[in-house]
């Protein structure tokens, strides 16, 4: 009797064990997340990452390094003196590769397999864009092997090779996209079209590597009027506010201003002083005062309605003004007509800031003209990453204030992040903040 019961119990246990597997089957299927998404959706995430790159921490670093802005509170005081560590760049790198390159490439591949050539092209623009931007900011970066599911340690390409890779992607995209702005979820729906954007981006990257002839050609095919700018759209809704605004008003008030550094503390940053006191080149620009009022609110960024950093102010990734100034500079270096594109910008500014005579045309030539063009770009591209590259590329020809102690030059690169140092066996080794990158040697 006793033994029988034991036997039954044991049999029962065995039965239960047999059903073990069944009891837990499919329990571990994620009930919270999708495990796939269509390309139309994925490309939007790459576009969001582009917005981050041009409006958030990378842009703030660039603005502080080039003394457009002053780091004036807390950790930003340290940044103002170029006190940055590898960990400060984890976010930047991660957003560029994981959210930018990877999603753009995935969207491109999915669109191609779906047979949607136009979408594949739009995705590929961002694929090229992020590689190009990464190379300009960091130097040698993974390009060919980046975001390949089979490679866990992507190899680094030289800075120039990475930029060439970016340009090749843009070329490829050019053959796929239509001259419209379809598959846009992040940008202002003005008259921009992807073909012009591609040409402007190519101009930017050729300029960065000092291929002035190609830059000139591309710029001439680039964004043809201000209504074709690629602008990040914003509104007053939570989660859609201008990121400069969020940082300066909602998150970290007072951290970044234009109050000036060192001996200029209180006088304004380089940009602020040039707007209010005058440009070192002497190019007469009375309209800069109007521009100052749009850019700044005293020694703070102008976060007010209508200000450049207002809650709903759209923000450019690449613009007509940048394209024209690339054209002007490239023309200057190739002995072509630089004055025409430069003065086109001047007259556009006059119209934009509604200051008749505010930006009289330049008649300069030689080094003076080059300085004027670079100054204009420095001022016009406020808060824009490209200013950082221009100052490095031209060896600070226009003479923005250098703020670090013990250095006569501004930082030459973003530091490779901990993320790569830690995990990539092909990581080429730490670089000093003041080591020039290949294209800026």
């Amino acid at each position: 009797m006793k033994n029988n019961k034991l036997l039954i119990l044991m049999l029962l246990s065995i039965l239960l064990t047999a059903s073990c597997k069944k009891y837990v089957e499919r329990v571990n299927d994620d009930p919270n997340s999708f495990t796939d998404a269509p390309a139309t959706l994925i490309v939007g995430q790459a576009q969001l990452a582009a917005a981050y790159l041009y409006e958030s921490q990378p842009a703030r670093f660039a603005g502080i390094f080039t003394d457009q802005f002053t780091g004036s509170d807390r950790q930003y005081i340290t940044y103002d003196k170029y006190g940055v560590t590898t960990g400060d760049f984890d976010d930047v790198w991660t957003r560029i590769y994981q959210r930018g390159v990877a999603q753009a490439k995935l969207a491109m591949e999915k669109a191609e397999s779906e047979g949607n050539t136009n979408l594949a092209g739009v995705s590929e623009i961002f694929y090229g864009f992020f590689i190009g931007e990464a190379a300009i900011l960091f130097g040698d970066v993974p390009a060919v092997e980046a975001a390949d599911n089979d490679i866990l340690d992507p190899k680094y390409d030289s800075q120039s090779a990475a930029i060439d890779f970016a340009i090749s992607k843009l070329d490829d995209a050019l053959s796929k996209v239509s001259a419209n702005n379809s598959y846009n979820s992040v940008f202002v729906s003005n008259n921009f079209n992807w073909k012009e954007i591609i040409h402007s981006l190519k101009a930017r990257y050729y300029l960065a590597k000092k291929d002035y002839a190609s830059a000139l050609t591309e710029a001439q095919m680039g964004i043809s009027n201000a209504n074709g700018d690629l602008l990040i759209k914003h509104s007053n809704n939570t989660g859609a506010k201008n990121m400069y605004y969020q940082f300066g008003v909602e998150q970290r008030g007072g951290y970044m201003t234009v109050q000036g550094s060192g001996s200029n503390n209180g006088n304004g940053s380089t940009l602020k002083r040039w707007l209010t006191i005058g440009r070192p080149s002497g190019l007469n620009s009375p309209g800069d005062l109007q521009r100052d009022a749009v850019y700044f609110d005293g020694l703070d960024l102008n976060f007010n309605t209508g200000g450049y950093f207002a809650v709903d102010a759209s923000f450019p990734i690449i613009s007509y003004v940048e394209t024209k100034l690339i054209e002007a500079e490239a023309a200057y270096h190739t002995s072509s007509d630089a004055l025409t594109p430069f003065n086109e910008v001047r007259s556009y500014l006059e119209m934009k800031y509604n200051t008749p005579g505010g930006f009289p045309p330049s008649t300069s030539n030689g080094q003076q003209l080059l300085k004027e063009i670079l100054e204009e770009k420095y001022i016009s591209l406020i808060g824009n990453l490209q200013v950082f590259q221009d100052i490095r590329r031209t060896n600070n020809l226009i003479g923005v204030q250098v703020k670090g102690t013990g250095t006569s030059i501004i930082p030459q690169r973003f530091l490779y992040p901990d993320n790569e140092i830690n995990a990539n066996s092909n990581f080429p080794g730490l670089k000093d903040l003041y080591d020039k990158t290949e294209i800026n040697m």
Binding site: K2, G44, Q47, G83, Q98, E145, V186, N237, T405
Partner: protein, 1082 residues
Amino acid sequence: MRTKFNVFLTLMLALVVQLSFAQGKVITGVVTEAGTGEPLPGVNVVVKGTDIGAATDFDGKYSIKADKGQTLVFSFVGYNTVEKKVGDSNVINVQLKEGDVLTAVEITAVGQIVKKENDLSSSSKVKAQLIERAGEQGVLQSLSGKSPGVYIVQNSGDPGAGAYIQIRGQNTILGDASPLIIVDGVPIANDNIGGGTDGVVQQSRLNDINPNDIKKIEVLKGASAAAIYGTGAANGVIVITTKDGSGGKKGVLNVNLRSQVSFDNVNIEHEKQDIYGQGYPTHWFRLPYDGKGIWYPNAFGSWGDKISERAGGEDDVMVGNERFVAEDGTVYYPINSKNSKEVYNSSNRDQVFRTGMVIANDVSLSYSNDKTSNFFSFSNWDQDGVIKGKSNFHKKTIRLNNTTKLTDKFTFKFRSTYSYNNSERIQQGSNLNGLYLGYLRTPPDFDNSDYLGVYYDASDVAHPQSHRSFRRYLGDVAPIYNNPGWTINMQRNPTTVNRFIITPELSYKVSEKLGVTVRYGLDYYSDRRQTFFPYNSAGDKSTGYYDDVTYHNKIQTFLAFANGSLNINDNIKVFYTLGTQFESQYFRSIGGTTTNFTNPYVTDLFIFGNAEASNESPRKYIQQTKKSAVYSTVSAELFDQLVVEVGGRYEQPSTVNEPVFYPTFSAGWKFSKQFFKDSDILSFGKLRFSYGEIGIEPAPYLNSTSFGAYSVSSSWGDYLDASQYGNPFARSSVLGNPNLTVETKKEYEIGVDLAFLKNRINFGATYYNNVNDNAILYLDLPASTGYNYYYDNAATISNKGFELELGGKIINKDNLKWEVNLNWSTNKNMVEDLAGVNHVFLNGFTGTSSEVVEGHPFGAIYGGRFLRDDNGDLVLDANGFPQADPVDGVIGDPNPDWIGGLASTLSYKGFKFNVVLATSQGNEMWGGTEAVLKFFGINPETAVESTANVDMVNYSGETIPAGTTFRGSIYDFGGGPVPLDVDWYTDLGGGFGAVSEQFIHDASWTKLREVSLYYTFSNKLLSKTFIKGLQIGVAGKNLYTWTKFVGVDPEINLTGASKGRGLDYFTNPGTKSVMFITNIKF
């Protein structure tokens, strides 16, 4: 022949008669419990050497036949056996003392039959009296300092906050690090959801058990003991048994009333300077360096003028339209010049702190008879925290436990409890809306008392619900930091918890030696948390913010086991258990957030809909896990000396593909029974060894790569929400790994248990060594792969340590008793291998965090260091100042070198005096608050003056002319004296600089955990009343702390009970308490 036979018969008869004569004497008496005098029913009374026996009745009375010269043996489970020789008297009254637990036989939660004497792993037990005496609302807190190898710290002084428990070191990076909690035989949830660098401190779900319902708690520390409990038990098991109503006088309703009143105060506070006012140093105004400062309104710093050098009197204000009118009518105009010499440190402090108070009442009823025992209790806990405003905790619990013997064979048990609590806590941490951040940064010359009012602008337009704080003293716009008055009164964080735990059980006694038990457990809770920031709160909450989320969690367990014993012969006894268990957990959180209120002037209406649709965001998360298992243990006792136990559990968790097997083996030798049989000195001695393997399962859903509509953000808080941009989806940064398996902790331990002088002195020593060599971690993938992480079983983490316990009854007289227990333990934790990853973030900030770093102990503090050369010397800049190393590294260890406890109980007649000390030595903590208060010029170190003897150059390159007296000190980093002034503290020398190494301090502590005095009124005194027992007591908790750490209780941890340790950053303070307790029995 016949005669012979008759003679023989007569003789036999005579013998029988004589025998019966010999047992003809009837002995009667009463058996009572020593100490209480309560009658003990059911005590076995046996005439030694015969099978004649009897048992005591309800009133402890017995009667038995015995002869003079024979011996009566009185025995009762849980009590020492007493032998009495029968003399001339026919009455023998006996008192039984509560016995050594050594001889007790118990059935564990999974059905093992265990004799304490044969315990082969080191476990610790805490009995009901100790838990009640602790007077804590949480269960864990009462265990602190009482067991070696068990590290319990009170992370927070906020009411209802959980405690952190760690048994034998941490061993998992991503898995659950808290012990498995078993209540009445089934696992229950011990979630601690929350615990970041900001927000409010969250409760531990162990709060829901009423400590006064607990009969005993047992802590299983070793893997061999835990293995049979299955996945989840890798961090030890806490087995809680609730009261069942037996033990009291049978057939009578026993009522117990317990009341407690406690008064709580902040134990350690930050010191603030009161010499310099709000403002900035002179040279920041482009004026020549003079070492002084200038008052400046709304400035972040207290780097302004010397308050004592002001003109005095009222401030010179600009009377006009622009003004702030406080609720009480006080008007604040723009200040032209600051004249007042008043300082407000003390009134600003009193604005936020008070004496907290707890009123707790607990009533329990128990009733038992032969067939049934019942326990019913109701408790109520009302607490106001030490922070004024919305800081409180209200809890009610109800319990009904029943055990019924349905028949001789069937026994039915039912354990059930319901608990409800509502509470509020105050925002803390790295949080512009947190209490300490706004309060401690407030300059000494700023009066925080008026925080709410109406701002009138220059056109005399009123702006209601304006918020005044030192960063916006007219309340013209939302301030940069909250006024602490606003934080504690205007912001709301209510939580409501409902919880049921129901455990029915049926057992069937197949025979004397075989039993079968079937048990079901249901543990369900819902935890609703609301967060409300009114319009004009600081930072990104300035347009209003409301969040409402409810967590639902349900754990169901089905357990069936058979257990039995086989006595193969007198020398070999075998106990066995065979069981099966099914467990499922279903967790769901559902909630939503509203931002940008359309009607801003709302302070107590918590609704959705007060915003445009785009500013309303719902969310939901579901998590489900299941496990099924069979297990078995067999233990054998040989020659009453050797004990051997083998066991195993075969389990299939839903989170992994393949089933797992956990083996356990242990052996012990009670050598004293061989070698010290008659020793007066050594009364018991046992050597033991055990080995076990036990797992930690991976978090669910790590097996696949997901896609989500992620927002894009920087670490500074600015972000773009995908839902505002067509809701695009990205592939996750985490690469799924379908091949993950359970992390396995393997542990062996050896130990010795000794008892001396008739068990008056007990000593236990254990050495353990465990390793988890397939710990899961997210391995960094270079982001250039398109992913940031993938999960893998790749890390190795080990712990080894010693645990010592020494206890003794130093004085053991009837009226005077003194018992002292000491425990000491050390744990050496090492992250042996991280699979090439340099460090893994656990919690904290960029710049200072608690991390897992290869070659360092778990949770190492990681952050910015000074740049050093190969010799470890500082690399100084041209001016003699140190520099930041561009690469972060390990800067501190939050793990103690050793922990210890001392408990002393002295009783004299009705008095009982208890002292408990707990200590943690060698643990370090990052003083983030101190660091940042240096930046703000609040820390007293910044409020000193020095004079430059020669021209000196400060950190930012300003020259301090010789002879200048400046605010700050002079320090030599090795390159000659340099001035540490405002430019140093607001840069590298302060909390926002890149070097957190300088703020890592020794945070060793020793606490007077408890000192209490109780008096129990004697039964004589009460005999004429209806009261059966009365005890009153006064107790102090954490009344004194010995520590070198400054400003905050070193037990506090910013990130709560999370794995990240050793961080302080504007963490709400810890507390000390005095309490008065009354216990009445009817």
